[in-house]
Amino acid sequence: MSGIHVQDLGKRFGDRVAVEALSFHVRPGEVFGLLGPNGAGKTTTVRMLTGLLQPTEGEATVWGHRVDRDGEPLRKVVGLLTEQPGLYDRLTARENLRFFMKLHELDEAAAWPRARHYLERFGLGGREEEPVGGFSKGMRQKLAIVRTLVHDPKVIFLDEPTSGLDPESARTVRDAVAELASEGRTIVLCSHNLAEVERLCERVAVVKRRLLAMGPVRELRHAGQALEVRVEGEAERFCVALAQLPFAPNVLAEGPKLRVMLADDAQAPDVVACLVGAGARVHSAVPTQRPLEEVYLELLREGRG
């Protein structure tokens, strides 16, 4: 069973619940986003799925391996890029990579062409013999990505993969992620960079200890659609009238602009009629999808309770 299957997964550290009742699956070839604020349980989830922590509830399989009992075979098919590059500064780039080749018991002669391919791709070709301590933050991050890929993993967990990278390098990494997914690998991306998540991920899960929402990025954004209305004069004076509508939408007013959150497209004419009835001169009314960031923040606010 390839991909990732998670069912009611939970983790407690003593009395503290880090993750509870988490369920999702990720297909081979899919880039899946795991979103959540600091301390939401993303790292704990990734650690459970890479066999570093034992779940206290539920079960999960990663590329057919149970996370609670198949530690060694699981870690052979998994690649993990941690938030910090975690490289050995006194060793050269080549020595850092060789160490992980040895840990994976790879035939170095066969593994090197692959490593060299990624080193070249990330602009580190010819820097193999330099101590990593002299590398810039971006170079270290790129080398850590190469290390994550050196054993040809089927499932890849990337925690903030473009952190510290310049725009060009970040684009190279994003292209590489898309290419790895097109090769049939399963990729889980943990990031606070929502624009990047929007660009790379087909589906996302928003977690805050438990699952707050999950679905294709487009659907999540659609669920958070809005009507942007431009009126004459200060828009704030119409907020009271809009609050009288049967579906009492959330409204944001800024200068002549109103942003009315809708649960359904069909509510848009009622909003316009209400405004006209309240004496507004409506210049334009444009249905928009809210940026993922706004949806994400609203989900977190709702999840706070």
């Binding site: 550290f13 650690r47 890479t50 066999g51 570093l52 922590l53 034992q54 530690g71 060694e72 870690r75 052979k76 998994v78 993990l80 941690t82 910090q84 590059p85 975690g86 490289l87 050995y88 500064d89 006194r90 060793l91 020595e95 160490f99 992980f100 040895k102 840990l103 994976h104 018991e105 101590p131 850590a144 290390r147 994550t148």
Partner: protein, 266 residues
């Protein structure tokens, strides 16, 4: 989960390579052996330089009131120094692995390298074995090298008085090749376990280094004439440390599982 020696050797290879490039640590590792070799050579040289000094006999009689009238006090004190110094020499195989293991184990946490390492197929047992080897092999090699230099130095400075090689003798040979590795294993085990509980390599070093105090205390007892060192005395020390080594091994296997390492170190 199967123990794969190749993976333990990979950890050893990496740590040994890292140690070779850590100039600061190498220098601090060399200070203690230099002291352990030069101090007793200096003491022996002092006795040899003034063998007929009247005070030497008083000192010798303090340690052995039955010393025959015609016996050389200088020779007696040289023999006593060599016997007693072995107790002090044992500080080295305990202390050097503490320096290395604290850096390599708690250092993984400080450098944030532990999580990628534990996400590889390496098991906790392989990790601890590899890291222990990386601390033990240099420590034992340094101890043995220091022993060779010590023997050569003592024999050179003692020759004018005794006209024969004093070192290596049976006590030192047995001690350096059998007891010292047991002490090194002990120092490493303590450092590994303490490193797993604290967040900084420096703190791990400072706490682990406290284990040398009993050894130094016993040498103090020998110098004060309270303890009488000899083959049986050191054999007993070795037996006690062997038991402690077994306990440390048991504790390491029980305490250093992957989850504990990630929870505490990650």
């Amino acid at each position: 989960m199967a123990f794969r020696p190749k993976r333990a050797l990979a950890v050893f290879w990496k740590d040994f390579l890292d140690l070779r490039k850590n100039v600061g640590l190498l220098v601090s590792m060399m200070v203690l052996p230099a002291v352990m070799v030069l101090v007793p050579i200096g003491v022996v040289w002092t006795y040899v330089r003034t063998p007929d000094h009247a005070d030497l006999r008083s000192v010798a009689l303090f340690y052995d009131p039955t010393l025959p009238l015609g016996a050389s006090a200088a020779r007696f004190l040289i023999d006593k120094t060599l016997t007693d110094w072995f107790g002090m020499f044992l500080v080295m195989p305990v202390f050097v692995p503490i320096l290395i293991a604290s850096q390599s184990v708690a250092g993984e946490k400080e450098r944030r390298t532990l999580e990628p390492l534990l996400a590889s197929p390496v098991t906790a047992a392989e990790l601890v074995t590899g890291k222990s080897l990386a601390a033990l092999v240099p420590s034992v090699a340094i101890t043995w090298t220091a022993f060779v230099l010590f023997c050569v130095g003592v024999d050179i400075v003692a020759w004018p008085l005794v006209k024969m090689p004093l070192m290596p003798n049976a006590l030192w040979t047995f001690g350096v090749f059998v007891i010292a590795p047991l002490f090194a294993f002990f120092g490493n085990g303590v450092a590994v376990l303490i490193s797993a509980r604290v967040s900084e390599a420096r703190m791990a070093q400072q706490l682990s280094a406290l284990v040398v105090l009993p050894i130094v205390g016993m040498v103090g007892g020998q110098v004060a004439g309270v303890l009488k060192a000899g083959f049986g005395y050191y054999l007993l020390q070795g037996a006690v440390v062997l038991v402690l080594d077994a306990l440390l091994l048991w504790a390491s296997i029980r305490l250093l599982d992957r989850e504990r390492l990630v929870s505490r170190w990650g």
